[in-house]
Amino acid sequence: MVRQAEVRDGENGYAPAPARPRWFLPAGWVLTLIGLALSVYLTVAHYQEGALVCTTTSTVDCHSVTTSKYSELAGIPLPLLGLAFFAGFAVLITPAALRSAHPVLRWGRLASVCVGLLFVVYLVTAELAILHKLCLWCTGVHAVTVLLFVLVLSDEFRRIGSVD
């Protein structure tokens, strides 16, 4: 069996991936789909200002955040970047991509969630330190991104810690 695995992966010359916990795939997909849904909503709300539903208090105010200059980066609306991120990540966690031990996919997953986490840091800084307002929908996207980071890092941690 070991030999078969070596032969199969020998085409690429990479070690086979040890089995993941069963909850990894559903957890990854649930988070990614939530992220996608929130990004689609925020993208629509970016172009149709009336579409954004949010309670408004002294600290929670979606409109202040989504119409601020921090709602775009180099002219690209951030919800659109979020959409691209979750769509790309969905490709990286398809069963085929997860079965593959190709380093581009493994490190692609890790690199993408690291970039995602840095965007969260950037946006939360803008919300808390500059705008002094929080957008609840955006916070949902941030939470999903942080959880994906934890998920992918723990997966990679488990993988390189496996002796077999």
Binding site: T56, T67, S68, C114, A129, I130, F157, I160, V163
Partner: protein
């Protein structure tokens, strides 16, 4: 078990232990590299965002206008009237869009004269800001709308200061600007203390009135570009960039009444 077999088993156990240790070292390295790199870059991001914000704020602080002016009142249609008590004519109406570069040029050349005419009781000035650029692409369209809606949230006493600040900080045509937080901040800079002001600007509460003022300008009054200035209903042309000609036109209008 033979001695050779026992030695082989011991060697295998040792090798196994070494593999485990190597794997644990790799795990530690992974956490150190990933978490360390993310933490360092995150720190750089936080500092950069805050520094850029503070630098941006220093560049754009609105100052209250303290030059010549007449009492200001906000009309029910959203327009602002600036006139000394009892002065009802001639009426100088100024149709402007805060994103319009020609309006900025008009304000720089002739804006002071307009205020002077009102301050001296020689004219009743009516400011009619509207959203001329509704058909333009973003960000021109959205800059124009945000600024027009924000200006309607400003109480009459601070109108001139805010109006001047909008032209002073007018974004270059085609670039992002008039950010909501700036529109709020400039209001506070020039002394707006109304607790509802921020929400009014942020939620664009005055958008319906902007729409009504835009319909009035474009359809009722036939304004097709900005700035458009009417003197007692007559559209001025060359006087817009010539303060002396504007003063003469106002004097002539007053003389004929």
């Amino acid at each position: 078990m033979s001695k050779a077999a026992r030695e082989r088993t011991a060697r295998e156990r040792l090798a196994e232990e070494r593999r485990r240790q190597a794997a644990r070292a790799k795990q530690r390295r992974l956490l150190t590299v990933v978490l360390g790199a993310v933490a360092v870059v995150a720190l750089i991001v936080v500092v950069t965002v805050i520094v850029l914000d503070q630098r941006g704020q220093r560049d754009q602080t609105a100052t209250p206008y303290r030059g010549p002016q007449a009492p200001l009142t906000r009309q029910s249609d959203g327009s602002i009237v600036m006139a000394k008590p009892g002065v009802n004519a001639p009426v100088l109406e100024v149709f402007e869009d805060f994103q319009c570069p020609a309006c900025k040029a008009f304000e720089e050349n002739t804006g002071k004269t307009v205020k002077q005419l009102a301050a001296e009781g020689r004219a009743k000035v009516v400011y009619r800001p509207f959203h001329l650029f509704g058909e333009q692409r973003d960000p021109i369209r959205s800059n124009s709308l945000r600024s027009a809606a924000a200006a309607l949230c400003v109480p009459a006493p601070q109108w001139l200061s805010y109006h001047d600040a909008l032209f002073q900080f007018q974004p270059r045509e085609g670039s992002e600007g008039f950010a909501t937080e700036d529109l709020v901040a400039w209001g506070k800079d020039v002394g707006v203390t109304d607790p509802n002001f921020e929400k009014c600007v942020t939620d664009q509460q005055k958008k319906p009135q902007v729409d009504a003022m835009t319909t009035y300008a474009l359809q009722t009054r036939g304004v097709s570009g900005t700035p458009t200035v009417f003197l007692d209903g007559r559209k001025l042309e060359n006087e817009l960039q010539d303060p002396a000609a504007l003063q003469k036109a106002v004097a002539d209008a007053k003389g004929s009444q």
